[in-house]
Each structure stands twice: as C-alpha cells, then as structure tokens.
Amino acid sequence: MEHPRQVTAIGAAMVITSTIIGVGVLPLPRFASEAADAGGPLVTLAGTVPAFVGLWLITALGQRFPEKSIFLYSEDIIGKWPGRLGSALLILFFAALSALTAREFGEVVVTAVLKKTPLEVTVIVMLLLAAISSRNDVVTFSYLHQFYLPFILAPGLLIAVYSLKNAEPLYLLPIWGNEPKAFGEGMLTIASLFQVSFIMSLLIPSMSRPWKAMRAGLSGMAIAAGFYLLIVIATIAVFGPEETKKTLWPTLELARMTSLPANVLERLDAIFLIIWVTAVFTTLLSSYYLTIHAISNLLRLRDHKMFTFFLLPFVFMLSMCIPNVLDLYAIIRLVGKTGLILTVIYPLLLFTTAWIRKRREAS
C-alpha cells in the first residue's frame, strides 16, 4: 500500500470493466432466461441496480478515507474487532470466489475444448497465472487490465453484432417475459456477477486523483453492464428463451453459430474461447489480488508478495471440492447471493455509521 499514487482515473475504470467481464459471461444468458424467459434483458438491467449501489457505496467510502483501504478504515469506523471480522469474512468470500471462478473456467475448458486434460491441470494453470501476476504492485496491476481490455471488448462486440443477423425480434417480446417466476432471484444472481468490482476499494488509495474515482468506477461498471446486456439481448434474440434455458453456456453457442461475412471464419467459438481466457484471467487476477491484499492488510504486513503462492493451495483445494458441474452452478448462485450481503450491506453499514459519526462530530 505504500506505492506512489499513479493509477489514473481511466485506468481505474478499465480495471473495473475488465474485472467484471469474466467467467460469468458464458452462463449469463441462461441465468437471465431462467429467471424471466424473454424478459432476460430486463432482468439483467435490473440486476445491475444492486451492483451499482454496491459500487457507489464502496467508492464513496473510499473517497472519504482516501489513504486507506477498506480493511483498514473499517476498523476505524465500527471498531477494531467488528472491522476485523468483516475483513476476515471478505477474505473468505473472495477466496471462495476465486476458487469458484477458477473451477468454472476449468469446467468449460474441459468440456468444450480439452476433453482429456485433467481438470486439476487447467485449474492450476489458471490459478498459477493469476498468482504470478499478482506479485506486482497496483500500478502494474492496472496496466495489465488496461492492456487486456480491448482484447476482451472488441471480439465480444464483434460476435454480438454479427450474430444479430440470425436474430428474431419476436424472441425478445414480451419485455417482461411470459413467466417471470424468478425475477427477484435472477436479479440477485446477476448482481452477484458484478461483485468483483469491490477491487475499487483497493484502487482508490493508489489513484492519482481520488476524487475522480466515482466517475471512473461508475463508467467502468456501465460499460461492463452494457456489454453484458448486449450479450444477453443477442443470445436471447438468436436462440429464443427456451433454447437459452437448455444450453449450459449459451454465449459459447452463440459464438459457434456466428460466422463472419463471406464465411471467412466459421468456428468462431475457439477464437471466442481464447479471448474469454483473457477475460477470466483478469477477473481471477482481481479477486486473487484482492484476497491477498486483504490478508496483508489485516495482518498489517508491508509486502503482499509472500502470500501469492502461499494462498494457492487453499484456493485450489476449495475449487476441487465440488463434485460436478451442475452442483457448481448451484453453489455459485448461493455463494454469489450471500456475497451480496458482504459487498452491499456491509458497505452500507459502514457508510451510514461513518455518516452518522461525521454528523455527530460536526454538531
């Protein structure tokens, strides 16, 4: 945390965007259409609301305490031990999130691309990539995200736009869906996909202009949300809500069905998977980095590098615990939704407490 302030506002925005766009982009349309049929886009849009609220809270808190990260100032606000408890819970949560992300990634690769490779190997390789890359300081961390973001956005947009030629607008109607039985639940599931934006609390202490953090964070999340929305719209428009529900990874199937004009490239899904590896990497890097910094903050250590490899076996064990892919998604939904308590309610608590305190001090 002793790094000079060098992260730019644009850099922070790009970090947020590339962090959010990650492994969730593959099952996202399925979550949306399981919740509300043709109302998938609406659910997605609704799901961004809690996400924005969470980000707003964290950024506002961070701007109020621009020198410290949340793990430090939470102790200031609500006391030493409650703050430490909150931080410990956050650490556990993000470690679990990293494990789940890595596992989901491994599952996709082993099912769709490398069928005989053991799952452990794919997961370890990705975790290793993240671990090695988290040994850098915050500025290099932001450089990584800035570098990879165009590679993530451009192909995604390309696929979404070209797939629209097979789209049927009827599939997007009615806007609120025929049977939106699980609208609320879907909203929360989708909001949980945005949670890794918590990394903002780590960026603010190192930003060169912390007062721009709000604009940066919100615009970064807006771009990611727009991207997700586009993917959901494209998928549901092409496949229809029923087919989307049946496919495990609809976005992947979307890439498979798309072909560039003049049939230059047919099987775009391999290309898509390659790009997706980058997206998962950035997300995993962020959550892993967050975990490590959280631990080093909690224990008041200077250097976070020693944890990078130390944490690896634990996260790996966690991701191997789950027996099969369908259980995996059940657990992802569960953990995601409980995590919302940590990433939205807890900052809300902190924020209101700080606000009340400030009021009291003023008067």
């Binding site: 043709a38 069928k115 490779t117 370890i124 109607l173 029923e242």
Partner: protein
C-alpha cells in the same frame, strides 16, 4: 527464497510431465463428414455386438433399432489444389455402417470397427430417413447437441426412402459426396431456394414454444443426383408431412425471407401461353388480433420479381396494362396457394410459420392464460384464421424490350 521457489517450480513442472492429454494428431482422427440414420432391417437388428450392454442385463429403450452409415474421409485421397490426372479412380471416402439401440449405442458400435478415433468436428450433413423422422427425432437431436464437437452449422435433412443411399451418391461436381450435399444446401440458401435452416436453427425452432421445426427433404434422382424435393415439417419432433418445392417458395414468401429465388409458371388470362415469374425480393409483415377468443393473423406480403420467360409472341409486354393484369392475376393465384399451404400445415398441426411466437410475444396475457405449452398451441393452431394479402410486382423483364 531461492530454495523455496525452486522446490515449488519443480512440483509444478512435474504436473506437465504427465503429458499432453488432448493431443490427437489430425491424421490419427477419423474425420466423419456425413452420417445417415435409418431404421434397422430385421437381419441387422439381430446381429448386434454387445458393446454398450450385455444382452440380458439391459432393457433397451422403446424405440426400434437404428442403423447409422458414416462417411469418413480418407487422408490423402482428397488433395488440395488441381487434381493430378487419373486421381478419380480412388474413392476419397470410406463408408461404414453400424447398428444400435440408440444413436450413441450405434456410435459406440461404429467406433469399435474403426481404428482411429471418430471426430465430428467436420461433420457437415446428417441425413435421416423418412421413417426415422416420422417416429420422432428428439433423442437423435439431443445426442448431437450434447456433443461439443458438432458444429451448429451442420445441415440435418430428411431423405425419401433409405438414407444410406445418400451416403453413396458421388456426383462429378464435387469430390466428396457429403460436401456435395452441403454445397447443395448452402447454395440453395444463397440462391434463395431454401431458408437458412442448419442444425442450430433447427434446435432453436424446436425449442420455441410457438413454433415447429422443419428440415429439408431430399430425394435421390438417378444414380448421381440429389435434389431438394421440399420441406419436411414437423409437429413437435415427429415429421408429419412434406411440401413440394414450389411450396418452399410460398413458405419463404410468407416469412419474408430473402433472397428470393423461386420461379413460377403463370398463365396469363385470356391467352393459352404462360410466362415465368421469378421472385427477387420478398417482404412480409404479420399482424395479430384476437377475434372471438381465437388469434387471427393478417399477413401482408409484397414480392418483387422479374419476368423471366415469355413463351409466346402473341402478346407484347409493352401493351398498356398487360403487366398490371399479369400482376393481379399472379397475386390472386398466390393468395390461393399460400392459403392452401397454411391450411395443410394447420391440419397436420405443424406451425412452421411461427404464428405461435407472435401470440406469445404480442399477446402474452392471452398466451399465459390459454396456451402456455407447445402441445396446447398445436391444438389451437388448427383453429386460427389467417388472412393473406399478397402483392406481386414485376420490376424487370430481362434484356429484351418486350
């Protein structure tokens, strides 16, 4: 710190020593280019090697056995670039057959016969026999969906009679028969003779509640030719009927699919001879209203086309009003044809036009209350009314001035 790093690094490298698990060289794969699925004959049904089950300890599924025929590319016999003279003696593909209770069972049996591992990444055509299609193809379809190697751009079609014959047809235009079939369909789409209906779209339409799927229907002509003989329409996953080729054009017109490509003979009123009208552009819009508790559709379509052939000189096109007359006559005839096509599909309970989707989308309250499932829609489809208003316009008459 160095010792720790070294130890850790060694541990990791040992993982990679395990080997490359997924490496399978391209020449070690049996590239399956096309598959056909038939019902098994009596004698084949008996002789089944017990690969996926032992004879007594297994209850086979209720459907009859099926027989698959696969066309596998032989490496080296399909050269790139110009053919070196005399190369046509060698048949570039190898056709093998196997039987099984389900399609996966049959695939296992097939793999047992072949040395290389089957590879479906280049599977381009799947041909089902009419008999199989009439029994319901849900299990076949979901087998291919679960397999991640299969492309969504593969074509699935129904053939008249036995499907295995299509795997043996070798026309001179293309070296590989399966690729010829593929080219037939792809070019048909480009020429506007068939809607874009590859496997992915089939899956989409069959999942949609308010729509029924359709597949190309092909027929073998002579020894070497395969022609598109119509559109096989399904109710749910069972085939219930076939249209004629021209009716494909009607179908595309009602859906407004472009590019247009069908030509129709029209008899000009008052004259014995006929002209040939060929569509170039189709446009249609559908409107839904609920009348008397039942959906009523109004389809407005406009077709533009060229006059391709005038088989007589007894009248000239420059006569005033003759083109209008022809257009009006065309429109009337078209209306009759479209209505009859829709009526046929209604009788069979197969909504290939997707009217159900309109109801689901535009009148969701009605849908939720009365219909909800695709079976219910099949019933209701028989009772809906459709009003068609086609307008045909002749835009060009070719290079001749009259």
């Amino acid at each position: 710190m160095n010792r720790l790093k070294l130890g850790f690094g060694l541990c990791l490298i040992s993982i990679f020593l395990g080997g490359c698990w997924d490496r399978l060289e391209i020449e070690d794969r049996a590239v399956v280019l096309g598959i056909s699925i038939d019902e098994a004959d009596e004698q084949d049904a008996e002789a089944e090697s017990n690969i996926s089950h032992k004879n007594d300890s297994f209850v086979p599924p209720k459907i009859d056995k099926m027989r698959i025929t696969a066309q596998i590319a032989v490496p080296g016999r399909i050269p790139l670039g110009p053919e070196k003279g005399g190369g046509t003696d060698q048949i570039p593909v190898w056709v093998v057959q196997a039987t099984g209770h389900t399609i996966d069972d049959a695939m296992m049996n097939l793999q047992q016969q072949i040395s290389d591992q089957l590879f479906f990444g280049h599977l381009r055509v799947i041909v089902l026999s009419e008999a199989v299609a009439k029994k319901g193809i849900e299990s076949i379809s979901s087998y291919f969906r679960r397999n991640s190697e299969v492309r969504r751009l593969t074509w699935m079609m129904v053939s008249e009679g036995k499907a295995e014959h299509t795997m043996n047809v070798a026309p001179p235009l293309e070296r590989v028969p399966a690729l010829y079939l593929l080219a037939t369909l792809d070019h048909a789409v480009q020429m506007g003779k068939f809607p874009n209906d590859f496997l992915g779209i089939y899956w989409i339409t069959s999942s949609s509640k308010g729509r029924d799927p359709y597949l190309p229907y092909i027929r073998i002509r002579g020894k070497e030719n395969i022609e598109i003989a119509g559109l096989a329409y399904f109710s749910g996953d069972k085939m219930v009927g076939v249209t004629s080729p021209l009716e494909i054009g009607f179908f595309m017109a009602i859906k407004g699919m472009n590019p247009g490509g069908y030509s129709a003979f029209v008899r000009v009123p008052g004259i014995e001879r006929s002209i040939m009208f060929r569509t170039t552009h189709r446009k249609s819009s559908t409107q839904l209203t609920i009348q008397n508790g039942k959906p009523h559709f109004k389809v407005r379509l406009s077709l533009e086309g060229n006059l391709e052939e005038k088989s007589t000189e007894t009248f000239s096109l420059t006569e005033p009003g003759i083109l209008d007359q022809i257009e009006q006559y065309l429109s009337r005839e078209a209306k009759k044809s479209y209505t009859s096509l829709i009526a046929t599909t209604q009788r069979k309970g197969s909504d290939i036009f997707g009217f159900g989707e309109y109801v689901r989308a535009k009148a969701p309250a009605y849908w939720n209350r009365h219909i909800k499932t695709s079976e219910a829609w099949h019933e209701m489809y028989k009772e809906i009314t459709v009003d068609i208003e086609p307008i045909l316009k002749i835009r060009r008459v070719g290079m001749k001035s009259s």
